[in-house]
Amino acid sequence: MPFKRKDLLGIRDLEVHEIEHILEVAFSLKEINTRAIKKVPTLRGKTVIHLFYEPSTRTRTSFDIAAKRLSADTYSVTASTSSIVKGETTLDTLKNLEAMKPDIFIIRHSASGTLQRLAQHTTASVVNAGDGMHEHPSQALLDMMTIKEHKNRLDGLTVLIVGDITHSRVARSNIWGLTKMGARVVVCGPATLIPPRLEAMGASVSLHLREVIPEADVIMMLRLQTERQQQMLLPSLREYAIYYGLDAEKLKKAKNDVLIMHPGPINRGVEISPEVADGPHSVILDQVTNGVAVRMALLYLLAQRQ
C-alpha cells in the first residue's frame, strides 16, 4: 500500500489505517537490525539531511542509523556548527539546503509549528523530529510500537502519561495517536503542568498519581525539565518526586503486567526512581530499539512516494 503523504508533521493528521500501516512496516523492518550485516539497499541514492535546531542525542542518532541501514546518504546540520549562528533564517537555511537536492529533511526546532511552515517551501519530504511543544510523531509511533509489541494491542488499554504535559510534544503526539487507536489516555501531574482544556484532545486528567496507578496498563513517565522550578510551576524537585515521581512503593498498586515507559533522557530520582527505571516492568530500552525500526519505516514509506 503506497503512502500518500509528502511529509510526516504530526500524529494529529494521520488516519488510523496510516498508523497501522507504519507500525506494520516497522515490525517487518525490525529484523534487519538484528542481522550481522545491518544494511539493505532500499534507499540507495537517496539523500537525507538532518537539520537540528535543538540538542538531541537519541532522536538524531536513531534517524541517522535508520537512514544508513537503508543505504541513504545522510548529512547533519546543527545549530552550533552552521550559518544558523550567523543569523540566517530557518527558511533561508532550508532553501539553501533544498538547492542541493535532498530527498528527505529530518527537522527539529524549538518553536511549535515551524515544520508546517518549512514543509510548504520544499518539494523534499519533511519529517518532524520534534517542534516546540507541538508534536514529536516518531516518538509516539515508537511508543505505540513498543506497547503493541508487549500487549499485542492498543485498543482498550489504559495509558497513563505522568509529568509535565504542558511543555511535552511527546505527550501531545501520544494523546493523538493512542486515542485514535482506541486506547484510553489519562494524564497526571500537578495542575501547573497540565494545559487547559486537555479533554478536548480526548484525554482525561488526574492530579493524584496514587489514585490512577491501579487503572494503568502502561505508565509513561515524562522528563521534568529542572528549570520549571524557576518558572513558578513547582516549589521543588523534592516535592515533585514525592507526589509525581514513580518509585517502587507507588508501583506496588499497579497491575502485575504494567509497562513502564520513558522517552528519555531520564532524571533518575526525580520523575522515576532507579529501581523502577531498571526494573522488570521497564521497557525503556525497547523503546529505543523500536525507534530505529519506526524511523526506518517512515523513511522507507516517504521515499516510496517519489
Binding site: 527558511l91 518553536a111 487547559p196 478536548a200 484532545m201
Partner: protein, 451 residues
C-alpha cells in the same frame, strides 16, 4: 506631495446616515468649494456653478460622516519600512477614514512635544488625512515615570496611552489618571497583565493546548480592566479601554458604566470576526495582541457592541513587514493591518442584526470623536466636508495587493467581502475615490492621489 483641490460635487439620491443628528434618510448632498453646502431633496445648483459641479447619482448608496479611527499605528518615526504617515493615512482614506489617532509606540516614543509636533507637521505635509497623536503615559513607555501631559496636550496630543505595553505599576496608573484631568486627556488603557501573559502567543484554551503554543488567558486582560476601572472610580478620571477582546472585560465595563464610572471602550473588527480556531495552521498573520479569542468571546463582544457597552470600533492597524511576519510563529510580531478592511467587516454586523446602521456608523464617527474631544463625526453645513461614501451591497474578494498601506499583514486577504468604500472626502478634498463623475470606475485606481 500636491494637495487635491477643494471638491465640487453634487450627490443625488444618497442614503444619509448621520448618527450625531439622528438622520437616516434619502437626500441629495451638495459640496461646493470643499464645504458641505446643503443637504436636502431635489437640490438645485445656481447657474454659475452648474458647469463646475459634477453630479453623481448614488442610487441609494450611503453617505456617512467621515470615519474616525481612534487607534492606529503609523510606525513613523522609526519604522518607516513598515508604514509612514503618508502611506498610513493613504490607507486610512482608502478605507473610508478622514482622521486617525496614532499610538505613541514609535522610535523615538511619542512622549514629548517634539515628537507630537513632528507627527502633526508630517501629516500636514504628506498625509492623506488628519492625524491626532496619542502621547505616552510614561516616559519611553518604560512604565516608571509620567510623561509631560501638559506639553503633549499643547503640542496637539488628544489622549495618553502606553498602548502596546500595559502600565503594570498600579500607582503610576493612578497618578496618570489623576494628572490627566487638568489637561482633559482621556487615558487609554492597554489592559494586559504582563506577568499573566508572559511568553503567551495566542489565546489560552483548547486550541493553544492542541497546537502546543503558550496561551494568554482572558484573565490577563480582565485583571487589568478591573484594576483600571477601580482606579478611574477612585480618581474620577476619564478612562478608555482599548481593544476589548474578552467576555469578562465586556461584563466588567458594563457593570462599571452602570455604577457611573466615566469609562468608554473600543474593540477592533478582528475581535468580532475571527477566533482562535483561525490559528490552526500556525499562520502568523493571525498573531495579534490581545489574541483572537473563543467564539464565546466573539458573541460577548457583539452583545457589548449592541448594548452600547463598547462605544467605538477602531482598527488597531498594526503594520509589519515580512521580516516580522514571515518567521516562526513564536518569533513573529503581533499585529494586523485593518484600515482598508474595516468597513465591510463592520457592515456585516448590520446584516447580522447586531447593530442598526445608525449604531454602527456612530461607533466609527461621533462616538470616538466624543471620546477624544474632536469636532468630527457629524455632517454639519458650512464645515469642510468630511464624508465617506460607501456601497453596502457590493460583493468582491478582498485583495490586499491593492491596499495603499505599505504592509500586507491582512488576515482577510482573499476573503469574500460585502460593502465597499467608494469615496472619501477629507477636509473638503477627494482623498480617495473609486468613482468618476460618470459613476463607478471599473478598477480600484486611486485617481485623486499621486504619491
Amino acid at each position: 506631495m500636491e494637495r487635491e483641490t477643494a471638491a465640487n460635487l453634487l450627490f443625488r439620491n444618497a442614503r444619509i446616515i448621520d448618527p450625531a443628528q439622528g438622520l437616516d434618510g434619502r437626500a441629495d448632498v451638495l459640496v461646493l468649494d470643499g464645504r458641505l453646502t446643503e443637504i436636502g431633496a431635489h437640490l438645485q445648483i445656481s447657474a454659475d456653478w452648474q458647469a463646475e459641479v459634477p453630479e453623481i447619482d448614488l442610487g441609494g448608496k450611503w453617505i456617512v460622516p467621515g470615519l474616525l479611527d481612534m487607534h492606529v499605528h503609523l510606525r513613523e518615526p522609526g519604522e518607516e519600512y513598515k508604514e509612514t504617515i503618508a502611506t498610513g493615512t493613504a490607507s486610512a482614506t482608502g478605507g473610508g477614514f478622514v482622521a486617525v489617532a496614532c499610538m505613541p509606540n514609535t522610535h523615538p516614543v511619542n512622549d514629548c512635544a517634539a515628537v507630537t509636533e513632528f507627527i502633526i507637521e508630517r501629516a500636514r505635509a504628506q498625509g492623506s488625512c488628519r492625524v491626532f497623536p496619542v502621547g505616552a503615559i510614561s516616559r519611553g513607555l518604560a512604565g516608571e515615570s509620567l510623561a509631560e501631559f501638559g506639553e503633549l496636550r499643547e503640542a496637539g496630543a488628544v489622549a495618553v496611552s502606553d498602548d502596546g505595553r500595559a502600565v503594570l505599576n498600579s500607582l503610576l496608573m493612578r497618578r496618570a489618571l489623576e494628572y490627566a484631568r487638568a489637561f482633559d486627556l482621556p487615558v487609554i488603557s492597554h489592559a494586559e497583565d504582563l506577568n499573566l501573559s508572559r511568553g503567551g502567543l495566542m489565546n489560552e484554551g483548547s486550541v493553544s493546548t492542541m497546537l502546543g503554543l503558550r496561551g494568554i488567558p482572558n484573565a490577563a486582560e480582565e485583571v487589568m480592566v478591573a484594576r483600571d476601572l477601580l482606579l478611574a472610580e477612585l480618581t474620577h478620571s476619564r478612562l478608555h479601554i482599548a481593544h476589548v477582546s474578552t467576555a469578562g472585560s465586556v461584563q466588567l465595563i458594563r457593570q462599571a458604566k452602570q455604577r457611573g464610572i466615566a469609562v468608554t471602550a473600543e474593540t477592533a473588527p478582528q475581535y468580532f470576526t475571527l477566533t482562535e480556531d483561525d490559528l490552526a495552521t500556525f499562520d502568523t498573520v493571525y498573531k495579534v495582541n490581545p489574541p483572537l479569542r473563543s467564539s464565546g468571546d466573539v458573541e460577548a463582544i457583539k452583545l457589548g457592541l449592541a448594548d452600547g457597552t463598547i462605544d467605538a470600533i477602531a482598527t488597531d492597524h498594526a503594520p509589519h513587514s515580512t521580516l516580522e511576519k514571515d518567521t516562526e510563529f513564536e518569533f513573529a510580531a503581533n499585529g494586523m493591518i485593518g484600515l482598508e478592511s474595516a468597513v465591510p467587516l463592520i457592515l456585516s454586523l448590520i446584516r447580522e442584526g447586531v447593530l442598526s446602521p445608525l449604531e454602527a456608523i456612530a461607533k466609527l464617527t461621533c462616538n470616538p470623536a466624543t471620546i477624544l474631544g474632536l469636532p468630527l463625526g457629524a455632517m454639519l453645513p458650512r464645515m469642510p466636508a468630511d464624508l465617506t461614501i460607501l456601497d453596502p451591497e457590493e460583493t468582491y474578494v478582498l485583495d490586499c495587493s491593492t491596499f495603499r498601506s505599505k504592509s500586507r499583514n491582512c488576515p482577510f486577504h482573499g476573503k469574500n467581502m460585502q460593502g465597499r468604500v467608494l469615496m472619501t472626502l477629507a477636509e473638503g478634498r477627494v482623498a480617495f475615490t473609486r468613482m468618476t463623475d460618470k459613476g463607478l470606475t471599473q478598477t480600484n485606481t486611486h485617481t485623486s492621489r499621486k504619491p
